[in-house]
Symmetry: C2
C-alpha cells in the first residue's frame, strides 16, 4: 500500500502530474513486478495541506476528506489519476479510493478513471486494465458492502476510522479514549458483514488499521473470514507468530464466541485469554 498523500504532506502545494508520475514510477519500479496498491490522496481532517484554502470545519472528521475532496477538485484528482495510470505501465499497480461512503461516489470516481484512461489512450499510451478497490471505513459503506463489492476488484477495511465513525468517538480525543473500542460488538458485526460480502462476490478483502498489527486480534480476524492483513513491517513477525499458533478451526470457534458476547470488555478479555493461551511466551501483549 502506498499512501499517496505522503508525497506532499511536507510540501506547500500539490505536486504536478509530472512530479507525481516520477514519484509513483520510482516506487512501482522498485517493487520489481510485485503488486502495489496506490491509494489516492487521503487528505483533509487530520491531514491538512498547507497553503490550500480548505474552509475551516467544525467537525473535520465529518467533513471534506479524501474522496470527497478529490471529487470536488477534479483537476487535482485527474492529475493524480493520470500520473498513477502512466506509472502503472512500469509494474503491477492497483488503485484504491479512501473514505467511500456511497455507491454513487465510487461510480463517480470510477467514471473519472475511465475518462482519464481514454484520454491517455488517445495520446497513444497502451494501458493494461487496472484493479480498482475501495476502503471501507465509513459505516454506510460497510452496510452496503454487497453493492460496493459488485463494483470493486478488492476491498480494504480501514478499521481505525470505521471504529471512530461506528462509535461516534474521535480517535484523537484523549478525553474519549476509553470509549474508542475496536472490540465493540458492532465493529465485529460490521467486519463480519464486509468479509462475508467480499467472499460472496469472490473478491479479496484486507484488514488495515491498528488491529491488523495487534496479534491478539489475529485469530479473531482469521475466524471472521479475513485472509489478508495489512501490517506495519515491524509487526510482521509477531502477527505471523500469532497465525502459526492458532488453527483455522480454533479461530472460527473464537470468532463465534466473540460474536456472541455483548460488550467490548468481554470481547477484549476473551482475546487476551486466547492470546495468553496461544502465545504464552510473549511478554508484550500478555499483561
Amino acid at each position: 500500500l502506498f499512501r499517496s498523500e505522503h508525497v506532499f504532506m511536507s510540501n506547500d502545494r500539490f505536486p504536478t502530474e509530472e512530479e507525481q508520475f516520477e514519484i509513483y514510477r520510482g516506487i512501482v519500479e522498485r517493487m520489481n513486478g510485485l503488486p502495489i496498491v496506490i491509494r489516492t490522496f487521503d487528505i483533509g481532517a487530520d491531514k491538512q495541506i498547507a497553503n490550500h484554502n480548505l474552509p475551516k470545519e467544525i467537525n473535520p472528521y465529518l467533513g471534506c476528506r479524501a474522496i470527497r475532496f478529490l471529487l470536488r477538485e477534479p483537476s487535482i484528482f485527474r492529475a493524480q489519476l493520470r500520473a498513477i495510470l502512466r506509472a502503472s505501465l512500469f509494474g503491477n499497480v492497483s488503485l484504491m479510493f479512501p473514505m467511500i461512503s456511497s455507491l454513487s461516489e465510487l461510480l463517480e470516481a470510477k467514471a473519472l478513471v475511465k475518462e482519464t484512461r481514454k484520454e491517455l489512450e488517445s495520446e497513444g499510451l497502451k494501458l493494461e486494465p487496472m484493479r480498482i478497490g475501495c476502503m471501507i471505513e465509513v459505516p454506510s459503506a460497510a452496510l452496503i458492502s454487497d453493492l460496493l463489492a459488485k463494483e470493486c476488484d478488492f476491498l480494504s477495511i480501514g478499521t481505525n476510522d470505521l471504529v471512530q465513525y461506528a462509535l461516534a468517538v474521535d480517535r484523537d480525543n484523549h478525553m474519549m479514549s476509553s470509549l474508542y473500542s475496536p472490540t465493540h460488538p458492532s465493529v465485529l458485526r460490521l467486519i463480519k458483514i464486509i468479509v462475508t460480502e467480499a467472499n460472496r462476490h469472490g473478491i479479496p478483502v484486507t484488514v488495515c488499521g491498528e488491529i491488523a498489527s495487534d496479534p491478539r486480534f489475529t485469530p479473531l480476524l482469521l475466524g471472521l473470514g479475513v485472509h489478508e492483513l495489512s501490517v506495519a513491517a515491524r509487526y510482521i513477525p509477531i502477527v505471523k507468530n500469532a497465525i502459526r499458533n492458532t488453527s483455522i478451526v480454533a479461530a472460527s470457534l473464537l470468532a463465534d464466541k466473540a460474536m456472541s458476547l455483548s460488550t467490548a470488555d468481554e470481547i477484549d478479555q476473551l482475546l487476551n485469554e486466547e492470546y495468553k493461551h496461544n502465545v504464552p511466551e510473549d511478554c508484550i501483549y500478555n499483561f
Copy 2:
C-alpha cells in the same frame, strides 16, 4: 418528549435538583396523566453550556456529548435523575438516555437510576416503576439494537444524528450537505434492523428527526415496521394525511422496493413519485 436541556440552555449554570424538580413537575402536571418522556441532558457538541468548562474538542460531534457527559459528571446526572424521579410522582413519566453507543453505557446509566431510586426511597418516597428507553442515534447502537432492546422498555431512533454518523457527514456543514442523505440505503438498513429487533423484543420504537415530519418518508417508515413517529406539532396534519393516503400493504411494498435500490437518489425519487401518487394535491412536498 421533553428535551431537558432546554431548561437551562439560556442559563449560565446547571439548575439545582430543586429547580429542575419544579420545572419537571410543572410539565408533568400539565400533561394531566398523559405519558411524557423526559430525555436526560443532551448537551455538548452544538449545545454548549455557558460557564461550564468543557475542554474544546477538535470534533465535538465525536466527543463528550449527552450520556457521555452525564456519566463523567455523576453529580450533575444524579441531581437530574433525582428531580425526574421525584417529578414522576405527579404523572406518567418515562426516562430516555441520549447518545447511547454501547450496552455498558446503558447499564451504567440504569445502575445510577437504581441507586438514585433507592436513595429517594430511603428518604421516604414511594416511587412507581418508571419506563426507561434509549435513543438509537449512533451506528454502533443500531447494530446492537438486539442487545439494547433486552434492557429497554422502548427505543427511539434519532435519525438526524444516525444519518450524520452512518455517513460520516456533519449535518451542519453546508459544504457537505449534498452528502447528507437520509435516503442512503445504509440508513434504511439500519432503521430496518432497529425496528425488527424492537418488534422482536416486544417493545415500542419511535422515529424522531426530520424524516419523521416529512410526509414523503411516512409510507416508507410504516412499511419498515415503524408504528410511532415523533413529529413537530405543525407537521402533524400533513403526516396524518400521508398516513391516511396509503395502505399498510402499499407501504410494505414500497419499503421492499426501496430496500432493493442502491443509491440515495434512486430511493429519493421513489419516495417522491409515491408521494405524488398518494397525495397529488400537496404543493409543498411535490416539486
